[in-house]
Amino acid sequence: MPTRKIYERPVIKKLEGNMPNKFGMRSAHEPTQSIEGHAVKDLINEFGSPLFVISEKKLRKNYRNARQAFQTRYPKVQFAWSYKTNYLDAVCNIYHQEGSWAEVVSGFEYDKAIRNGVPGSKIIFNGPDKTDSDLRKAITNNSLIHIDHLDELYMLQDIARESKMRPRVAIRVNMDTGVYPMWDRFGFNYENGQAWDALNKIMFSGLMDLVGLHTHIGTFMLSPNAYAVAASKLAHLAQSLLNKYNHEIKYIDIGGGFASKNTLKGSYLPGSDVSPSIHDFAEAIASALMNSDYRPKTPPVLVIESGRALIDDAAWLLGTVLANKRLSDGRRATILDIGVNTLFTAFWYDHLITPAQPITSYTEDTALYGPLCMNIDVVRENVNLPLLNRGDHVVVHHVGAYNMTQWLQFITLRPNVLLIDEEGGKHLIRRAESLDTITSQEIMPAHLAHFDL
């Protein structure tokens, strides 16, 4: 029998004006057959589908690149890993090994950082949700508490007075940096004087050590200049403190929010082209601080809480085609075992998705749906992809940030997370959930334990 050729699904498509043609799009579909030296097929055979894969090599490389970007431009730089971006212990510890502190926004995250062995004094406690007991714990551990609102400030004063301990605090400042939307729900406003009022209250109380100033101007920011504005406004506050109280703060925390190379929905150009590099952000922030009118004896440490930009492209989500179908109007739809439950960021990104097996230049437009029996479960409304068959594998790129924390236990269970170390070794760092994972939290009242059908 003569050797049979590789099969490709038959397709016919209509030639229409303003439709991207296959030649134009060809190069967008290089298949991703392996990740960090491991064939996608083998990884799925061994660990199941879907599967998150994280590259330790890439994580460390991104971190070192970012650290270098800031350190070459500013004398004292400290990174603090944003736990909410990805708080898998193994991931956090890679950043801690690299020298990163922890930046947490809840009692749960705080406990996780302590459990990982981060010294209390190297934990930054942000966010609007800090309970009385959270604050007591943070004060006892000498952590850095970033005050979000006046109620928190008064609560801290009460605890300090009663416990005779001095909390180390900063305030979070929100401001107009020329970008939309302005994040004015967190912290104290700069322009209307709230921030300056809060600083005065802290200084007058004499009960707390005011050690820093913090801001976090937004998320997925594409404008380095906005950070320059933010840095100079914080520097101005610092100089006002120096003038009025002869008090020097120890650090300026510029937050995070740097865009990754993902493509936001509705963006005409892809994120790989429009997102500034970490060097652009570093240049804007460092030069704004160096050129500001703040003249302390000791320059403040610059704290960076970047999450997304350090991790997004260091993780992939591997999945499998469950079925192909036609919608009522003849459009193609492809159903994957990856849905918004695992790929939460599909709500705001047009993720790059590539096939994991060799392909030809023929493509078709398809909607990509997830496995959930819910109408909202759409991975891409319309994407031009090579012809996929049931059982084929796909790779979703840039999934490191927010997916492994915002994923949903909804309808189905969450999958394995695999770390590939610098030598190519495979480590399961979070086991796939089982029925037991979920039911072990449930309690059945005795009168509901039995039924007859």
């Binding site: 099969y7 490709e8 038959p10 397709v11 068959n389």
Partner: protein, 83 residues
């Protein structure tokens, strides 16, 4: 069903309907199916040919053939009167 006799199919998969003025492109598998249909092959015969030519299982080939024919129907490339 058959492909309408006036439909022009070229060797590189370009398909032109002279009545409606619409044109289409098909990939090599699609082109093979259309050529088979032109020669009067039945659906089971086309599936068999595909399985001989390509590395594909009959169930998959059958499913894909059905989908392909459905698309041709939607594009008004088929006729039924001689059935």
């Amino acid at each position: 069903m058959k492909i309408k006799s006036n439909i022009a199919i070229s060797d590189n998969g370009f398909v032109f309907n002279p009545v409606t003025g619409e044109s289409f492109t098909a990939n090599p598998t699609g082109l093979e199916i259309m050529n088979q249909m032109r020669r009067g092959a039945s659906a089971p015969q086309i599936v068999e040919t595909l399985c001989n030519m390509f590395q594909v299982e009959p169930t998959q080939a059958e499913r894909d053939l059905q989908d392909f024919i459905e698309m041709m129907r939607q594009y008004h490339l088929l006729t039924y009167d001689e059935e």
